[in-house]
């Protein structure tokens, strides 16, 4: 099958690029480490789960502690790598790289879905307010820790989903959710939350800097536990989205045509919107607001592989992972570390303007 072949070869190629980017990124930093050593250290860090059970470790979620499933691992590789290098690669750089890859993967996939959903190449994952909602939750916790004794990530995640749900509820009338209403409700709710965030920033006192850095998107301080929270959500979300790529294609014809072709339009829209919002929320909750990944990456991939979501969704996700790992490497490898959101925007915005002037971006 020609299409299957294209999906496999593009995905394989992009996975290889991701592997190269990961190895290169893990070698870069204040201590330079050769690519062979990095590759061996990465393999040493690979853990294969051999058993699972409900463990002692508690998973904090919205202030509750839930017993988390614990996995037993076996490490199949034991190459001889200097222990300092092994520590730098596996414990310091890899979690951050893995988190960047996870977030980039999720944001680009969600962006692809939203652009198809809104039939507009200018849509991005947070178009219905997911990122702003996450920001409001996070800034509230940072600025008023005494009032809100909950974790930063649960607060951001909850804020993101609450906002998405609110916008959807506002835009839904009589069982139908017109896309235009959704878009405008998203804009209005984002504006309101923007005001709220500004108010909280003004009164945040000493924590202003921390809040600003969160708002600009940052992957520093990433831990394996961040990855273990966000990676499963993103992977499962994108896997379910991948099962709906044919529906996404047909929805591009317009909702009425999609209905005539047998798509349950309102149910599919709700499902796509919910999944894309959860995936986006899982990303921004751990990494802060990172713009342009979900906007530019799907757009560029659409130019490369065409609009068919069956190939566009997996390739965008993989390219998004590489893009965010690469930009985050730039963010941390420079003389002074900057939030990664600054780097993605600094590269993404001019590139997007270039596309605009080349008229590759369709009219609104």
């Amino acid at each position: 099958m020609e299409r299957t072949g294209r999906i496999v070869s593009w995905s394989a190629g992009l996975t290889a690029i991701l592997a190269v980017v990961v190895v290169a990124s893990a070698g870069l930093g204040p201590a330079r480490i050769g690519p062979t050593t990095v590759a061996l250290a990465v393999l040493n860090a690979v853990a294969v789960p051999t058993g699972a059970g409900l463990g002692e470790r508690a998973l904090p979620l919205l202030g509750w502690s839930l017993p988390a499933p614990s996995l037993e691992f076996v490490r199949p590789f034991a190459f001889d790598v200097r222990s300092s290098h092994q520590t730098i690669v596996a414990d310091i750089r890899l979690p951050r790289i893995a988190l960047a890859a996870t977030v980039g993967f999720g944001l680009a996939a969600a962006g692809t879905v939203m652009q198809g959903f809104f039939r507009n190449p200018l849509a991005d994952p947070s178009i219905i307010g997911v990122s702003t909602g996450a920001a409001a939750g996070a800034v509230a916790v940072i600025a008023f820790p005494a009032l809100l004794p909950v974790g930063l990530q649960p607060a951001a995640f909850a804020g993101a989903l609450a906002t998405a749900f609110l916008v959807y509820a506002i835009a839904t009338e009589g069982g139908r959710t017109p896309v235009a209403t959704l878009l405008l409700a998203g804009v209005a709710v984002q504006a309101f939350l923007g005001a709220l965030i500004s108010y909280m920033l003004v009164h945040s006192g000493d924590s202003l800097r921390e809040a600003m850095i969160w708002l600009m998107g940052r992957l520093s301080n990433a831990t394996w536990s961040d990855v273990s929270v966000s990676l499963p959500v993103v992977l499962i979300g994108v896997a379910v989205l991948a099962a709906f790529t044919r529906e996404m294609n047909v929805l591009l014809l317009g909702e009425e045509d999609a209905h005539h072709l047998g798509i349950d339009v309102e149910r599919t829209k709700l499902l796509l919107l919910a999944l894309a919002s959860v995936v986006t929320a899982a990303g921004v909750a751990v990494a802060g607001v990172i713009g342009f990944v979900g906007l530019v990456v799907p757009h560029v991939m659409r130019l490369l592989v065409g609009p068919d979501h069956r190939i566009l969704l997996p390739t965008s996700a993989l390219a998004g992972a590489s893009f965010l790992v690469a930009t985050d490497t730039l963010a941390r490898a420079g003389p002074a570390e900057v939030p990664v959101g600054i780097v993605t925007a600094a590269f993404g915005a001019p590139f997007f303007l270039y596309l605009l002037t080349k008229r590759e971006v369709h009219a609104l």
């Binding site: 099958m1 299957t4 198809g116 039939r119 507009n120 190449p121 099962a243 044919r246 294609n249 047909v250 591009l252 014809l253 317009g254 009425e256 045509d257 209905h259 005539h260 072709l261 047998g262 798509i263 349950d264 339009v265 659409r302 065409g306 609009p307 068919d308 369709h362």
Partner: protein
Amino acid sequence: MIDADSLSVSFGDVAVLSEASLSVAEGEFVGLVGPNGAGKTTLLRAISAAISPDAGSVRVAGREVQNLSSRESSRLVSVVPQVTHLSFAFDVREVVEMGRTPYRSRFSSPTPEDRERVDRAMERTAVAEFEDRSIEAVSGGERQRVILARTLAQDTPVVLLDEPTASLDVAHQIETLELVAKLVEEGKTALAAIHDLELAARYCDRLAVLAGGGIVETGSPEEVLSADRLAEAFDATTAVATNPVTGSPTVTALPGGVPSELPERVHVLGRGAAAAGVLARLEGTGVEVTAGPLVAGGPAAAAATRQGIDPLVAEPYAPLDRELLAAAKERIRTADAVVVCDLHLGSGNQLLLSALDAPPAVVCETTPLTKRNYAGEEAAAAYRAIRAAAESTEPSSVLSALAAVESASRGRGRTNVSDIDGVGSHSEADGAGPDAE
């Protein structure tokens, strides 16, 4: 096969359909005709369950469509929409393949049957030759054929078409309707909204006239096109117009009955409900009416024959032959006024334009020129010049327009009628009344 029973649909405060009922038997090709804004698209949307009616029910193949899932109804009814928006560049084959969506499960790849149906659909609509091109890179007519191919691939017993010929040139209009007629021969049931009455009459087994929110007439094309109600139906948009000042609907009957000063001899040419409406209004006014060329088998020709006028007729879209052209020009020359009704430019019709500067003209239009011009920009310019000099009106007020033309030419003297500017300024002066001085 299709049973729409007492459908009422309103959007906000505007009632579009009120108790509209329509039945289409299995294996029948029914044309849904009616003036713009009559609710043809709305009726089709209600039948395909794209909207839910406020009242009434639609059964297709005995099943209530509102209770069907999208998937179930998409296996019963396929739709060729009036416009299709595609904001991303799928290639033509991918769009046609989407027609198989109702039959495919989530993870399976296309079956040999899927592929065969898609190939065959693309062959029959002659889109196979550009199957690799992007849907954004094909012309409007080609795109319409791609959508038709998608509908064929969907392979449903019932096909609904909303103005399938609207964006096509004449050759493709005929090709499209012939394909639909062929599908019906093969056992499918088709319901098509068609604004062109002549085409509808030629291809449909039965016509249904939608006006004022309901089906006012159904029957064979001959029955429907010769019925008095057709002209009424098409006039409904103009007769029940919205008062521009008060915003309330006003019903315009003929003002003060028949105007006393009408031209003695009036020639009517053109097509469709506009020409039929004009002929109906001239009946019984004492005006001597000649007509032609009218479209053979069309509503105007039917109306003319019924009134005892012997019209010149031409086959639709066939080239106008020399004799017919000469006869038509002769009738135009000997008339005191000529009424040009939705004249289609093309097939030699544009040659009539040169004869139209002799007697004063009234131009009656219900469809824009761009939809009826197949003869190029030069002919369009000539037509516009004639329209600019003539009285423009609608079928419902053709008599007052003729009266205005008549009084203008009497005022000027019959010899001077070609001085068009004089006619125009004179009638303006009449209206404003400053010449009382």
